[in-house]
């Protein structure tokens, strides 16, 4: 049977000031197809999808869509409600959920008239229940979204799109915050739905997902469509070449012999507000020349552990011992002083001050450094020179070092943080989800730096939900579950996956 075209993006172009984010992009989508949209950070994938959904208005080009059996008709541009009415559902890269209302309310929001006197909850409940059982996606419906875990939120996002009877589903990096198992089940559910006629466009940076779940792929580079191929004809190498225009090799870590312990957490307990942010008698030893991988499903206490090592929370019980000396005053400042370098999880919110310039963000952790300041005044020439050097060395690309850092793309923000952290040559590095949402090139750059730091004699604590990354990089693996740490019984994918899920004993 000849597949029929359900969507055609024709010559879409979008400019943001000087940046040509999308340059004359044409893409077609067939019925029942899973199309992977690939490209480096900043290649323009999200922009393209935002035009499809009506968030952005294209500078030129148009979109045609098939509703039922008739011909393709043009879609009203720049209006999400038109896109929704046309059967397009979108799962955004950044959550679009109101945290003060429940998942149920988020899903039904806008589906009924705003001016009906009562909400018709029964019918909606039934519909959501049936979507849940069809798709295999599950999330608690009746508690405020603010209390849900990241994975749950991601599923709510997808449910939201399906609830509006989408026949074209756009997923922008849906698996960035899911465990491998969650991702697998998401894709097998999607496959089931495409068999019933749903068409899917999904954006991801994970090759495994592209190769095993998509039918076809399109690669964007610098805002242009640089190639499209059947997945069956594709290989990781081919894709990478298209994406970056040259070949990159996967980082692999040569094991070296670890040194003596440099950091130990002894019987640390933190009583957080909920189970998700508590620690129970955690013991951990980090050696020099070692990458310690902490695997686990998000929401099991990784963030408190990260906050603890960042100095943001103090332990209720237990001690942090650095090279035999207990750290007295636990604060972010003292942790930096003691030689910690931290790559925070949420780079936009915790990593950079978006309103400050790139060069200012590069020195924000060393404000008391006499090289940076003179009698309390900043030495701007030094700061600028520093920024220039680091930008080159770490390949931070953006509109300029004196521009607000929020203008950088995600990958470049991460490079900025790397530059700031590694330049100090810290003895202990905490890397919390350091490659989440990064493209291959940027991710391998980060990984290379982590390995370099280890080889130089540092200790690295790598917290990641990407099991492949941990398996590839870590010298030793522990699994975090319910606020406790467990030594991995083996380095096999299956065993660790099971421990993460809680079936180890």
């Amino acid at each position: 049977m000849e597949a029929s075209t359900v969507l055609r993006l024709k010559g879409l172009t979008k400019r943001f000031g000087p940046i040509l984010a999308n340059d004359d992009i044409t893409i077609e989508l067939q019925k029942g197809e899973v199309l992977a949209l690939l490209g480096e950070n900043g290649a323009g994938k999200t922009t393209l999808m935002n035009m499809l959904f009506g968030h952005y208005l294209p500078d030129s080009g148009n979109i045609e869509i098939k509703r039922t059996d008739d011909n393709l008709v043009p879609l009203e541009l720049g209006d999400p409600s038109a896109a929704l009415a046309a059967g397009i559902g979108m799962v955004h890269q950044h959550f679009t959920l109101a945290e003060n209302i429940t998942a149920f309310e988020n899903i039904t929001l806008g589906a009924e008239s705003l001016f009906s006197l009562r909400r018709n909850q029964k019918k909606a409940q039934t519909k959501i229940k049936s979507i849940m059982s069809h798709s295999g996606l599950d999330a608690p419906l009746d508690i405020p979204v603010g209390k849900l875990s990241v994975g749950e939120r991601q599923r709510v996002e997808i449910l939201k799109a399906l609830y509006r009877d989408a026949h074209i589903l756009v997923l922008d990096e849906p698996t960035a915050v899911l465990t491998p198992q969650e991702a697998d089940s998401l894709f097998s559910n999607l496959r089931r739905m495409t068999n019933q006629g749903l068409s899917v466009i999904f954006i991801t940076h994970k090759m495994r997902e592209v190769l095993s779940f998509s039918d076809r792929l399109v690669v964007l580079r610098d805002g242009k469509n640089v190639g499209s191929m059947k997945t069956s004809d594709a290989s990781e190498k081919k894709i990478a070449r298209l994406m970056v225009g040259s070949e990159t090799q996967k980082v692999s870590s040569k094991r070296i012999k670890p040194g003596g312990p440099i950091l130990s957490l002894n019987e640390i307990s933190v009583a957080g507000q909920s189970k998700r942010d508590s620690l129970h008698e955690v013991n951990l030893i980090l050696n020099s020349n070692e990458i310690l991988g902490i695997a686990g499903i998000s929401g099991n206490g990784q963030n408190v552990l990260a906050d603890l090592i960042s100095g943001l929370v103090a332990p209720d019980r237990g001690s942090i011992v650095l090279k035999g000396v207990a750290i007295e005053n636990i604060s972010p400042f003292n942790m930096i002083k003691s030689g910690f370098g931290r790559i925070p999880e949420d780079r936009h919110r915790q990593g950079i001050v978006g309103g400050l310039s790139v060069s200012e963000n590069m020195i924000i952790e060393r404000l008391d450094d006499p090289q940076i300041q003179n009698f309390g005044f900043l030495r701007s020439s030094v700061i600028n020179k520093n920024a220039k050097t680091l930008s080159e060395k770490y390949d931070v690309r953006g509109p300029g070092i004196d521009q607000a850092s929020r203008l950088l793309s995600g990958g470049n923000i991460q490079k900025l943080i790397l530059a700031r952290v590694f330049e100090k040559q810290p003895e202990i590095i905490l890397a919390n989800q350091p490659t989440r949402g990064l493209d291959m090139g940027a991710a391998s750059e980060v990984q290379k730096h982590l390995i370099e730091a280890r080889d130089r004699g540092g200790g690295v604590i790598l917290i990641s939900e990407d099991l492949d990354e941990i398996l590839g990089l870590a010298d030793r693996i522990v699994v975090m579950r319910d606020g406790k740490l467990h030594d991995a019984i083996s380095n096999s994918r299956e065993d660790i996956g099971l421990m993460m899920a809680g079936d180890s004993t």
Binding site: N50, S81, L84, N100, G110, A111, S113
Partner: protein, 314 residues
Amino acid sequence: MIDILNILLTDSFWAASLRIATPLIFGVLGALICERSGTLNLGIEGIFVVGAMCGWMATWLGAGLWGGIIVAFICGAFFGLIHAVLTVPLGLSQHVSGLGITLFATSVSYFTYRTALPDVASPPRIEPFQPLDIPVLSDLPFVGLVLFQQTALTWLALLMVVLVWYVLNRTNLGLAIKAVGDNPNSVDAQGLSVYAIRMWAIVIGSALMALGGAFLTMSAFDAFFFGMVNGRGWVCIALVIFASWRPGKALIGALLFGAFDALQVRLQTEMGAFVPGQVFLMAPYVLSIVALVIAARSADYPRALLTPWFKGQR
């Protein structure tokens, strides 16, 4: 202590508390709707003045009491619309726009009043809303005076509490208002207009504030005076936060403030000889801060408050 207890037990004290609270109830509900949708409306003080002036002026010109209320409502909505245009699609500073609206609304009212009545020794009076005299209920002990001898506007205010609560918690509109104040993108991604929801919220909220002003000239008193709003709008801004943006708590907050004020008047009268009178005048404000400090932990802000949102920008 005995004095205070005696006062607290009288029905006239609670009747006064509810009376004093009435304009605050309107104001705090209005501010609550604005802020729930993500916009701070510091225009409230001026919109009170507009409501007080326009409602009274319309009645005086012959529109009738309810006609005056409608005029006040519309005038409040108009100044709300200005604030809405400035802060929502244009995304301008909510602080400046709000203070600007207060100055603008106040001066327009004063200028209009003075231009219309250039030479009055005492302003013309209207026949204001009278206490409802409901046959049996008004004669009940205690509640008869407290509840059933208030004017229709007080009842309207109480009705508004219920209405606002219902809309926020039981309707899709309320859902959209709450969502747009937490994360406008959530509303946008569902095909609803962030601009429309926010602007309507501000317009309706401001119209309610104007009713608070109208109460002053059409129920609490029967004429308009310069300066008679006397900071009541600002108090509402404080009460919204005290109320954690919930209509029920807003009612309680307004009643508490009204009660402090009613108590203040009575204590000052009785104990003015021993304690400077100002101590009592201060009391409602001081106690509001104390209440806030106690309630602060649980206060959860509409997360998008003060943050403008533009379509097609990230």
